[in-house]
């Protein structure tokens, strides 16, 4: 563009609000692309305003009213969350708080009360920011994503869902319908820590989620995921492999955290330098692991 404009206008396009999933999927097939899925709008609208999202679509398809996608359920061995479930409801959900508390913790640190009252988990994941706060806890839980289109449905492990910043495997005609979380076993400990530029309502410079068990003084089933330190939210398998099976103690924990910080590939941007992100990957991972060992959660 040959000029700068303060705040871009919302494009003049058609708006559709299907009330049922089936109708939505039919619509998406009819539109053949050239549409934008919207629910909370808490990522999309700011992106349009600052010129980060080109108005190259001709239809809004609003998924908000599809009540059948708004739920948090326990089904056998899975916790299932509908994609259109609001973040505030996930934070407050007794199921989430009891079984996967670090997900509740992470969601509670997304944006502000207003953002969480409107934003959805499907939106947070589809937006595919490397800093998406729901991703690290879900990665440690080995969550899966259910994608649906008119022709088929498929289940994709979350760690294969993200392709790069802003890119997912979602194809034309598909929507993210559900997040499936295998219910963790008892005696597992969880932690989520986030470091931003201020104490609230801040994007993550680095975020860490951990999930582990301690049996007879030995780390078992260690899972660590980080956000904002790579093109996509990532697990750190080398660190996990190092820690699993080791006796709990130092210098093991520190060494494990160091390995994690070697696995990240952060960039430098206006929020932080790559060096600081690497450094904080180490610091937060170490603290998250320590926090899993004590009843009292650590401060980020």
């Amino acid at each position: 563009m040959s000029f700068f404009i303060g705040s871009r206008t919302i494009p003049e396009v058609e708006y559709h609000r299907p009330k049922e999933l089936a109708a939505a999927l039919v619509l998406l097939r009819e539109l053949k692309g050239g549409y934008k899925l919207i629910a909370g709008g808490t990522d999309l609208i700011p992106a349009i305003r600052r010129g980060a999202l080109s108005p190259d679509f001709s239809h809004w398809v609003d998924l908000r009213s599809i009540k059948e996608l708004d739920y948090i359920r326990q089904e056998d061995s899975l916790i299932c969350i509908g994609a259109v479930t609001r973040l505030a409801d996930i934070e407050a959900s007794p199921i989430i708080r009891k079984d996967v508390p670090h997900l509740a913790e992470a969601v509670g640190q997304i944006g502000s009360l207003q953002i969480r009252s409107q934003g959805t988990i499907g939106g947070n994941l589809s937006n595919a920011s490397p800093a998406a706060d729901t991703a690290p806890p879900l990665l440690t839980l080995e969550a899966k994503i259910l994608l649906k289109s008119i022709d088929r449905q498929r289940v994709v492990p979350l760690d294969q869902f993200f392709l790069g910043p802003g890119k997912t495997v979602l194809s034309v005609g598909e929507i993210l319908a559900e997040i499936q979380i295998p219910i963790p076993r008892a005696e597992e400990k969880y932690c989520f820590l986030k470091l931003g530029r201020r104490n609230a309502f801040t994007l993550a410079i680095v975020s860490v989620a951990t999930r582990l068990k301690i049996q007879n003084g030995v780390f078992q089933g260690v899972r660590i995921a980080l956000g904002a330190v790579a093109p996509v939210p990532i697990r750190v398998p080398k660190a996990e492999g190092f820690l699993t099976g080791q006796r709990v103690g130092e210098p093991t924990i520190t060494n494990g955290a160091r390995i994690a910080s070697d696995e990240v590939q952060p960039i430098s941007d206006v929020r932080a330098s790559a060096a600081y992100r690497k450094d904080m990957s180490y610091v937060l991972t170490r603290r998250a692991i320590l926090s899993c060992m004590t009843p009292k959660p650590a401060q980020p």
Binding site: P11, R17, G41, G111, L113, Q114
Partner: protein
């Protein structure tokens, strides 16, 4: 009324319905000046496309005025000097109204966290906190509506 999808909920409130209390701030969801309650939840009206509001219930500051009588929360804001330039005030009040009905833990920490999405450049937040705590006392004593 008929709305266009390229109008945001904020545009409709201000430009069509001429509701003065809702304030246009950053229009990117970062400042909270445009906060209203939609179906009982605090939202940034600048982030919502107008058709998305269809069938919903909206509460703005005007709804806390009844026949010239101020809701006790508004009185608490005035009496505790929680208003300076007034631009963040309506959004702040709507969020406070929500917190007063939904917060279970009424510690300072918890109230401050609830207000994280409402920026204020004038007051340093301290008198706003005082006002909310004073309003809580009113609510607990039954003088509330």
């Amino acid at each position: 009324m008929e709305v266009e999808p390229q109008e945001t909920f904020l545009d409709v409130l201000k430009n069509r319905l001429k509701i003065k209390s809702v304030h246009r701030g950053c229009e990117e969801g970062e400042c909270g000046a445009c906060t209203v309650l939609l179906n009982g939840r605090p939202v940034c009206s600048c982030l919502i496309l107008s058709p998305q509001v269809d069938g919903g219930e909206v509460l703005t500051l005007e709804g806390l005025n009844q026949n010239g009588e101020f809701h006790p929360l508004l009185t608490a804001f005035m009496e505790n000097y929680a208003i300076q330039c007034g631009y963040c005030t309506p959004g702040m009040v709507m969020t406070a109204y929500y917190l007063l009905h939904h917060l279970t833990d009424f510690s300072d920490e918890s109230i401050r966290k609830g207000l994280e999405g409402n920026l204020c450049r004038c007051t340093g937040y301290i008198n706003i906190l005082k006002a909310i705590k004073a309003a809580k006392k009113e609510k607990d004593s039954g003088c509330w509506w």
